[in-house]
Amino acid sequence: MRGFGVDSALGKFDIVRRRDVFAGSLALGGLAAGRALASDPIAAGLPASSAGGAKATGESERTALPGTIPPLVPIRAHVDQIVDIKVCLRPFRPMGPRLDVERIGDKLVVHNYGHGGSGWSLSWGSAEIAVGKALTALPRQVAVIGCGIVGLTSALVAQRAGLDVTIYTKDMLPHTRSVRANGSWTPDSRIALTTPAGPEFGDLWERMARYSWKSYRDYLGLPGNPIEFRDSYILSDKPFGSTQEFASTGPGDYASNGMPRSASEFAHYSDRIRDVIPAAEVIAAHDNPFPVAYAKREAVMIFNFGGYGHLLLSEFYQAGGKVVIREFHAPSDLKGLKEKVIINCPGLAARDWWSDKTLIPVRGQTAWLPPQPDVKYGVRYNGVSALSKSDGILIQGFNASGLGEMDGVGNSFEHADRMEAENAVTTIGGLFSRFSPRRG
C-alpha cells in the first residue's frame, strides 16, 4: 500500500522521529528479571520445549510449591465428542500491523489491521494508537470499518474518547474471522518478521502489549468470565530445553521470495514484557500428576469468545454506538460515509478491499469439544494444546507440520480438515487415557 504515496505526516512522524531523542529513557522493559516467558506457544506455533523451556541464558526456573497442584478432572478428549471445527486465516503482515494514516479525498483513514496471530492480545493497545491518531483531526464522530476484535475495541476506545461511533461491517459476531481464533494471550504470535519489521517495531509492539495487558485486567472477575486466567500444563516426555530446528519450506527468505521460508524469520518480542507476565514454574516429579516425565505450569490469560464478545458489543450499544451492515469493495466506497474520519479495521479483508498485497493469510484450525466447567486448566503436549474455555474444550495442533510458525503460512484454505482435528484430539485423548486422577 505504499503505492498510494499519501502516508500523512502523522504516520511518518510515528515511524521516523519519535525514537530519536529518547532512546535512553525507554529501558523500562529491560528491568525484567530473567524469567522464562509465559507466551503461549499455541498460536505461536512453537513447541513447548522452546517457548516455555529453560532459556539459553542458563537461568534456572523456580519449582512450584508442593501442594499447589489441585485435583485435576481429566479432559474427555475423544474424536466422537467433536462439536465444531473452526478455521481462521490470520491477517499476517511481515512488517507488522498497519497503523499509518492515509488521506483519501475528504476522508482521513487511520488503518488498524494486520495483527497476525496477535489481534486479540494487542487489540486494546492498537486501538489506543489508532484512536489517538484519529483524534488529531478533531472529529466528533468516527466510522469504524469492521467488527472483529480490532474493530470492536477501536470503537470502544473511540467512544471512551467522547466520540460518536458507527461501526460499518459486513459481518457481526460470530461470523467475524477473529472469533475463529484460539483466544489466548499470544501477543507476538506471527506479528511480524524480524527484518521487514525493523528494530523500531519492537518499541511499538511493547507499547501495544503493555496497554492491552492492563486493559484486560478490567474484564477479569466478571460474571461469565469474559477474560480469565487458566493454569496451562506444559508436558513433555523429554527434558525441556532442547531447541527444535524447524525445516524451511524452500530456498531464500522473505526478501528474496516475498514469502517467509523459515520459522526463524518470525519476530519475537515477549521478553520485553516478562516483568508483568507470569513465568512458568517447574513441577517436581513427585508432584507431577501427568503420565509424562517432565511438566511445567504457567498461568495464561484467555479470552472466552462468547462472554467477551457479547460484553463488548453490549458496551458499544449502551454507549450509543450504531452498527450498519455494509460491505466495502474499494476505497472510493468511503465517499458515501457521513463520517470524515475512519478507522479501518478489516483484518484480512484489507487484502481485497484495500488491495493490500502485503497481507499473507496464515491458516489455523481449532477443534471444539463440549464444555467441561469442572476442568479449569489446559495442557500442551506433543505439539497439541488443549484448553478448557467457557464455550468448550479447545484442541489445536500447533506444530503438526514441524514447521513452527511457518505452519499454515500462505494457506488460505478456510475449511475444516477433519483428519487434522482428529489427530490432535487423539493426542490429548491418549495422554488422558494414561492419566490417573488423584483424589482431592
Binding site: 500500500m1 503505492g3 498510494f4 504515496g5 499519501v6 500523512s8 505526516a9 502523522l10 512522524f13 522521529r17 519519535r18 525514537r19 531523542v21 529518547f22 532512546a23 535512553g24 529513557s25 525507554l26 494514516v101 488521506r103 483519501i104 479525498g105 475528504d106 482521513l108 494508537i129 484512536v131 489517538g132 491518531k133 483524534l135 488529531t136 483531526a137 478533531l138 472529529p139 466528533r140 471512551r160 474518547a161 467522547g162 518499541d203 507499547r207 503493555r210 496497554y211 492492563k214 486493559s215 474499494a330 476505497p331 472510493s332 465517499k335 470524515k340 488491495s355 498485497k357
Partner: protein, 158 residues
C-alpha cells in the same frame, strides 16, 4: 497493478475533492490564523527536549505516548487542548507539572517544554521564541490539524 490502482483511486478522489469544495485534512499541523501564529525556535525545542527527558519522560514516556495511566502528549493532546489558547496549557504545566514536584520549573523552561511538545506534534519551528508569559501566550491559539476547528473543546480526557 498497485500503481494502477493507486492512480485511479487518486483521480477519483481528486475530482471528488474539487466538487466538494476542497475541504480536506491537511497532514501538517497548522498554526492559528485568528491570532498570532505559533512560533518557537529549534533551539528552544531542543532545550525543551532535554528538560522533558529529565522531568517528564519518566511518566509520559520517551516517545510522548504516555502509558495506560498517563496521558499521551501526542494525538490526544491535540484534541484535548484544541480550541484553547497557549496560555492554558502553559499555565497547566507550570502549576501541575511535573507531578512529583509541581511548579518547580522556571517559566522559560516550561515554555521550552511547550515548544518541544509542539515540535513533536508536527508544528514547524519559526523565527521567534515561544514567549514565557501568559499574557503573550493568550494571543496564540493552540494549533490544530486541518482547516476546520471543532467548536467544542474536548471535555473527555483520556
Amino acid at each position: 497493478m498497485m500503481a494502477f490502482n493507486a492512480l485511479r483511486r487518486r483521480d477519483v478522489w481528486l475530482s471528488a475533492c474539487i466538487v466538494v469544495g476542497g475541504f480536506a485534512y491537511a497532514p501538517q499541523v497548522r498554526g492559528a490564523e485568528r491570532t498570532g501564529a505559533v512560533s518557537y525556535t529549534a533551539e528552544q525545542a531542543e532545550h525543551g527536549a532535554a528538560l522533558y527527558k529529565q522531568n517528564c519522560a519518566v511518566c509520559h514516556g520517551g516517545t510522548l505516548d504516555g502509558a495506560f495511566d498517563t496521558p499521551s502528549l501526542r494525538g490526544r493532546l491535540i484534541s484535548n487542548w484544541s480550541g484553547t489558547t497557549l496560555d492554558k496549557v502553559f499555565h497547566y504545566i507550570s502549576k501541575a507539572m511535573p507531578l512529583f514536584a509541581p511548579g518547580s520549573l522556571k517559566p522559560a523552561d516550561n515554555a521550552a517544554i511547550v515548544a518541544f511538545i509542539l515540535r513533536e506534534n508536527d508544528v514547524a519551528p519559526g523565527p521567534r521564541e515561544l514567549p514565557s508569559d501568559e499574557g503573550a501566550l493568550k494571543k496564540i491559539s493552540f494549533p490544530s490539524v486541518g482547516g476546520k476547528r471543532a467548536k467544542k473543546t474536548s471535555s473527555t480526557s483520556p
